[in-house]
C-alpha cells in the first residue's frame, strides 16, 4: 500500500517512470544463474588462497614457521603481514585523524599480536583450495598467550589491562567530528556526547519516569555470499582485483596503500554482491590475494568459508545501555538520559555514534544527555550492519517509551504523536529537521486496520515502535552515452546491491522522456568511471540518482543544441518536454529523442556526458512497525502472527524494491530480536560459527510482511525520494519486545528474546509474585 501525502508539494508533476515497477537490469542473469559473483571468477593459471587464523583471543606472535607448508606439493607461496609495506612503514595509531589503512592492514593480517580468535595470521596460495587448506594447517606459529578482554564490563573495570598501550580516549560532540584527544589511557576509544537543556529540571517536571538497563549481543549481517577476491599482479606492476564489495574505490585506495603501490596501478572490478548489509563496506582479502599473486606470478583467488565469515569479519556490535526517561501527565517527554557502550572489537570504530545520534530522534525532547562509548575488546573488529548502531539504541529507547505510555495509561501511539518531531524541530545532534513524515507514519499506523484488529487467542500481544535514521551521503559520478538508436548507456560507480542500477536508470529515463528499457545501466570499474562513494547509508538511489539526473540534464542541453543546429536556431529556442524536442519559434518542428539521436552522427557526433554530483545529504528517514505475537508460556517461544511495516519513502522510485527493502529489513530485525547472537566461549571463540547455530530466520519462521509506503517528498531531491535501505530494520526489535510484554507480561531487556531468555524472564516474574 502506498499513501501519498502532501500532494501540493510533489515537485515535478506527473512522473512516467519513477514510481513504476520496472524490470531489473540484472534480474535475468540472476534467475538463470549467469550472474557473476565474486567466487565465479575463473582464469588460466588460477591459484587458490587459504588463511591460517589465530586460536587465541590475544597473543603475541613470537615466530611463524612456514617451511612445512611451503614444502607441500602444490603450494606456491605463503604471505604474512610482513609482506605489506605499510606494516613496515607505519606504526598503528589511534588518533581519529590517522586511523585508516594501517589498522585495516592489521585486521587483514596480524603483525605482532593476534587480537581475536579467528584473526588471520598467514595465507597460502596453492594449486587447489584443498592443498592450500592442508598447507595452512602446516604453518607453525609460536604464540605467547596474553590476557584477553571479552566484554565491555571487563574492558571498563578499574585496573583492566589496556588492549592498546598507546590508545587514549577521543572526545567529540558530533557524529563525524574529529575527536579531541583527552590524553586519558583507556579501553574507551571514543566518547561522543550530545546534550541539551537542563536534565535535572526535566526530570523534576516528570510525572512518571522509567529507568532500565539493556544488553544486546553480537550479531552478524549474515550475507549468504562469503567474502571472495581474485587478484592478478601483472609483470608490469598493474594489479587487477575482482571482488565482492560495497565500495570499489575504497578497496582500490586502501589496497594500494597497504601493498605500497600508487592508486592508479590498482584496478578494482566489482562483481555481483551476494548481500552486504554494511558487512562488505570493508575488506579482508584483496591485499592478500594481490601479494600472493605478486609472489607467484599467477592470479590468486581467495574465498572465505562460512566459518571464516563468522570468525574473521566484522559483525554488528554487542552493547550495554542504560536509559532514564520522564514524562509529564500530558505525555510530554520532559527528559532523557541515555548511556550507550558498544563493543568495537579489537580496534576502534563501533557504530555507537549511530546509536547516540538517533536513538531519541523520534521525539522532541528539550532536556537530554546522551553519552556513547566505543569500547575495545578482544573480538573481531565490528562493522556496520544496516543502520549501524541504531537498532540497539532504538530497542532501548522504544521499550522505555512504551513503558512510559503504560504508566501514563496512554495509547503508545498517542504518546508518540504527542512528542513527534516535525520540520524545524531539532535532531539530537542539534541539526533542524527538514520536512519529514514521522507524523504521517504514526497517523497511518493508528488508522491502519492492523492496529485495531482484535487479538484472539491466549498469550497474544501487539507491539509498536518507530525509528529515526539520519543519513549522510557521498558524491557520485554518472556518465551517459547516447546511442544512435536513441537508447542510452548509463555508467555509475557505486556497486548495485539490491537493484540500484535500475532505480538510478529510472531517474535518468524520467528526465530524458525515455522508457526504462531504453537505458542500459552498468556499474563501471575503477578505471572506467569517476570516483564514487561506497554503497551504504541508503545513499545510492539518492546520490547516484542525483548524478544520473544531472548527467541527463546535460544530455538534454547538448541535444537541444543539436536540434537548434538542425533548425538553424539558438539552443534557447528549443524546448524539451515528454521526450520531444520542439522549436518554440515554429512548433511544427518537432523531433523525438530517438529521432534526434539518429541525427547526432551528422551534427558533430554522438554525445557523452559525465557529471560528478556532490551529495546534498540523503537526510532523515523514519519507519514504524506494528506486530502481533503469540508467546508459548511453557517454552518461551515467540510466534509472529502479523507484521506491518511503515516507511516514509519520500517517493518510492520503485515500489516493489521499497517493499523488498522493508521486508528484508524486517526479517533481519526479527532475527536480531528473537534468535541471532554470537556465543563466545570463555576463550573468545565464536562457538556458533555456522548457519545451523547462528539462527537467521528461515521461510517457516516468518509471516508475510505487509508494507505501507508513505510519501512525504524529501525537499533535497528533485523527485522527493529518501533512502529506504536501512531504517525499516531498526524498529522490529522494540516492536517485538513491546508485543511480548503485552502477550506475556514481561519486559525483556536482553537480546535476543530467545526462548531461553524469555523463560528466564517468566520465571523471574513468577518469583516476584
Amino acid at each position: 500500500m502506498t499513501i501519498t501525502a502532501d500532494q501540493e508539494n510533489q515537485g515535478p508533476g506527473q512522473l512516467r517512470v519513477v514510481g513504476t515497477r520496472a524490470a531489473r537490469h540484472d534480474a535475468v542473469d540472476k534467475v538463470t544463474g549467469r550472474a557473476q559473483f565474486g567466487a565465479d571468477v575463473y582464469m588460466a593459471g588460477l591459484l587458490h588462497g587459504k588463511f591460517l587464523r589465530s586460536p587465541y583471543a590475544h597473543a603475541r606472535i613470537r615466530s611463524i614457521d612456514t617451511r612445512k607448508a611451503e614444502a607441500l606439493p602444490g603450494v606456491k607461496a605463503v604471505a604474512t603481514a610482513g609482506d605489506f609495506p605499510i606494516v613496515q612503514k607505519q606504526p598503528i595509531e589511534f588518533a581519529q585523524s590517522v586511523r585508516g589503512s594501517r589498522i585495516t592492514a592489521e585486521v587483514i593480517l596480524a603483525h605482532e599480536r593476534v587480537m581475536y580468535v579467528g584473526h588471520a595470521v598467514a595465507a597460502v596460495a596453492a594449486t587447489s583450495f584443498h592443498i592450500a587448506e592442508e598447507a595452512a594447517r602446516l604453518i607453525e606459529v609460536d604464540y605467547e598467550v596474553l590476557p584477553a578482554i571479552l566484554s565491555i564490563e571487563d574492558a571498563l573495570k578499574e585496573g583492566a589491562p589496556f588492549l592498546h598501550e598507546s590508545m587514549t580516549t577521543q572526545f567529540r560532540v558530533d557524529r563525524f567530528g574529529r575527536g579531541e584527544d583527552t590524553g586519558v589511557k583507556s579501553n574507551i576509544a571514543d566518547h561522543i556526547q550530545l546534550k541539551s537543556g537542563d536534565l535535572e529540571q526535566g526530570f523534576r517536571e516528570a510525572e512518571v519516569t522509567v529507568e532500565r538497563e539493556f544488553f544486546t549481543q553480537t550479531v552478524h549481517q549474515g550475507y549468504i555470499e562469503p567474502f571472495s577476491s581474485t587478484a592478478y599482479w601483472a609483470p608490469d606492476g598493474h594489479v587487477t582485483i575482482w571482488t565482492t564489495t560495497q565500495g570499489i574505490f575504497n578497496v582500490r585506495s586502501s589496497t594500494a596503500e597497504i601493498i605500497g603501490v600508487p592508486e592508479s596501478m590498482v584496478k578494482v572490478i566489482p562483481m555481483e554482491v551476494g548481500g552486504g548489509f554494511g558487512g562488505k563496506g570493508t575488506f579482508y582479502l584483496d591485499p592478500v590475494a594481490a601479494v600472493l599473486s605478486k609472489k607467484t606470478g599467477h592470479p590468486v583467488k581467495i574465498v572465505m568459508t562460512r566459518k571464516e565469515v563468522f570468525e574473521g569479519t566484522g559483525p554488528g556490535s554487542a552493547s550495554h545501555m542504560r536509559v532514564k526517561m520522564g514524562a509529564d501527565r500530558s505525555g510530554r517527554i520532559t527528559a532523557a538520559k541515555f548511556y550507550l557502550a558498544y563493543e568495537a572489537g579489537a580496534f576502534p570504530g563501533s557504530a555507537v555514534a549511530g546509536g547516540a545520534t538517533t536513538g531519541t530522534g523520534q521525539y522532541n525532547i528539550e532536556n537530554f544527555q546522551i553519552d556513547g562509548y566505543d569500547v575495545v575488546v578482544n573480538k573481531q573488529k565490528a562493522q556496520g550492519y544496516r543502520a549501524p548502531g541504531q537498532s540497539q539504541a532504538n530497542f532501548a529507547i522504544e521499550t522505555v517509551v512504551d513503558e512510559l505510555a503504560e504508566k501514563l495509561g496512554m495509547d503508545p501511539l498517542d504518546l508518540r504523536l504527542k512528542n513527534v518531531v516535525q520540520e524545524g524541530d531539532r535532531m539530537p545532534s542539534g541539526v533542524p529537521y527538514p520536512r519529514v513524515g514521522l507524523k504521517e507514519i504514526e497517523e497511518a499506523m493508528k488508522a491502519h486496520p492492523h492496529y485495531s484488529a482484535p487479538l484472539e487467542g491466549p498469550n497474544r500481544g501487539r507491539g509498536i515502535a518507530v525509528a529515526f535514521r539520519w543519513q549522510g551521503g557521498q558524491g557520485s559520478p554518472a556518465t551517459i552515452n547516447v546511442n544512435s538508436n536513441g537508447t542510452i548507456s548509463l555508467i555509475t560507480g557505486s556497486v548495485d546491491l539490491s537493484g540500484t542500477r535500475t532505480t538510478v536508470a529510472m531517474q535518468a529515463a524520467e528526465v530524458l522522456g525515455l522508457s526504462i528499457d531504453d537505458v542500459v545501466s552498468t556499474v563501471g570499474d575503477t578505471d572506467s568511471v569517476g570516483v564514487s562513494g561506497g554503497t551504504g547509508g541508503s545513499r545510492v538511489t539518492f546520490d547516484t540518482g542525483l548524478a544520473a539526473i544531472a548527467a541527463a540534464e546535460e544530455v538534454k542541453r547538448q541535444m537541444s543544441a543539436r536540434a537548434a543546429q538542425l533548425w538553424e536556431l539558438q539552443p534557447e529556442d528549443v524546448e524539451f518536454r515528454d521526450g520531444i524536442f520542439t522549436c518554440t519559434k515554429n512548433p511544427a518542428d518537432r523531433m523525438t529523442f530517438k529521432e534526434l539521436a539518429r541525427r547526432l552522427g551528422s551534427t558533430g557526433g554522438l554525445i557523452t556526458c559525465s557529471v560528478y554530483a556532490p551529495t546534498t545529504g540523503v537526510g532523515p528517514i523514519f519507519a514504524g512497525n506494528i506486530v502481533d505475537v503469540a508467546v508459548d508460556l511453557e517454552t518461551g517461544k515467540v510466534d509472529i502472527l502479523r507484521f506491518t511495516s511503515f516507511i516514509d519513502a519520500g517517493r518510492a522510485v520503485h515500489p516493489g524494491f521499497v517493499e523488498g527493502q522493508m521486508q528484508g529489513s524486517t526479517a533481519q530485525g526479527i532475527g536480531w530480536a528473537l534468535s541471532e547472537e554470537f556465543f563466545y566461549t570463555e576463550n573468545g571463540t565464536v562457538a556458533n560459527s555456522s548457519f545451523l547455530d547462528y539462527r537467521m530466520p528461515t521461510s517457516s519462521d516468518l509471516p508475510m510482511i505487509d508494507t505501507v509506503i508513505i510519501e512525504v517528498p524529501n525537499p533535497r531531491h528533485p523527485f522527493g525520494l529518501r533512502g529506504v535501505g536501512e531504517v525499516a530494520a531498526v524498529p522490529p526489535l522494540a516492536a517485538l519486545a513491546n508485543a511480548i510484554y503485552r502477550a506475556a507480561g514481561i519486559r525483556v531487556t536482553r537480546l535476543p528474546m530467545s526462548p531461553g531468555n524469555i523463560l528466564e524472564a517468566l520465571e523471574e516474574k513468577s518469583a516476584q509474585r
Partner: protein
C-alpha cells in the same frame, strides 16, 4: 596429485564426463570443472541451500554430495531451466514479482520451488514455507519469494490444463 576418478553422469539433459578427486563435492565439480557457477557456496555444510541442485528428481545440497556419487545420476542445475523458448515460468515470475534482491540464493530457491511445484502444484503458503526452509535468503524476508511460488503454481497448473 591423487588419482582422479572418471565419472559419467547427465547434467541438464546432456551426457557429461569428468575427472575428480574423491574428496571433491558435486558443488566443486559443477563450478570448477563444468563451469556451472549458478550453484553457489554459501556455507558448505548443508545449512543455506545456495548450492541446491536437483538430482534424480530430488533437491540436494550439492556441497553434501561427493562428485563421484554423480555416476549414473541425472542432475538439473539452474542453467538447465531456461530453454531456447525462453525462461521457465518460475524464472519469469521471480522477475515479475521482484522475488530476488542480491540474487545469490536465487538459483537454489528457484530449484527448490521447481521440485516442489513439480510434485505439488497446489502447494499452499504453509507448505511452501516449510519446503523452502532449507534455502536461506537474507535479502527478501521471503515474502515475495513465497508469493512468486504461489503464483507460479497457479501459472503452471493453468499451463498444464
Amino acid at each position: 596429485m591423487p588419482d582422479r576418478i572418471r565419472v559419467r553422469t547427465r547434467v541438464n539433459d546432456a551426457e557429461v564426463e569428468f575427472l575428480c578427486e574423491s574428496r571433491q563435492s558435486l558443488l566443486e565439480v559443477l563450478r570448477d570443472v563444468l563451469g556451472l557457477t549458478g550453484a553457489k557456496e554459501g556455507c558448505n555444510d548443508g545449512n543455506c541451500g545456495a548450492c541446491t541442485v536437483i538430482m534424480d528428481g530430488r533437491t540436494v545440497n550439492s556441497c553434501l554430495v561427493l562428485a563421484v556419487e554423480a555416476e549414473g545420476r541425472s542432475i538439473t542445475t539452474i542453467e538447465g531451466l531456461a530453454s531456447a523458448e525462453g525462461l521457465h515460468p518460475l524464472q519469469q515470475i521471480f522477475l515479475d514479482e521482484v522475488a530476488l534482491q542480491c540474487g545469490f540464493c536465487t538459483p537454489g530457491v528457484i530449484l527448490s520451488a521447481k521440485a516442489l511445484l513439480d510434485r505439488e502444484p497446489r502447494a499452499d503458503e504453509a507448505r511452501i514455507r516449510c519446503w523452502m526452509g532449507g534455502n536461506l535468503c537474507r535479502c527478501t524476508g521471503y515474502d515475495k519469494i513465497v508469493r512468486a511460488v504461489l503464483r507460479a503454481g497457479e501459472a503452471m497448473r493453468k499451463g498444464a490444463s
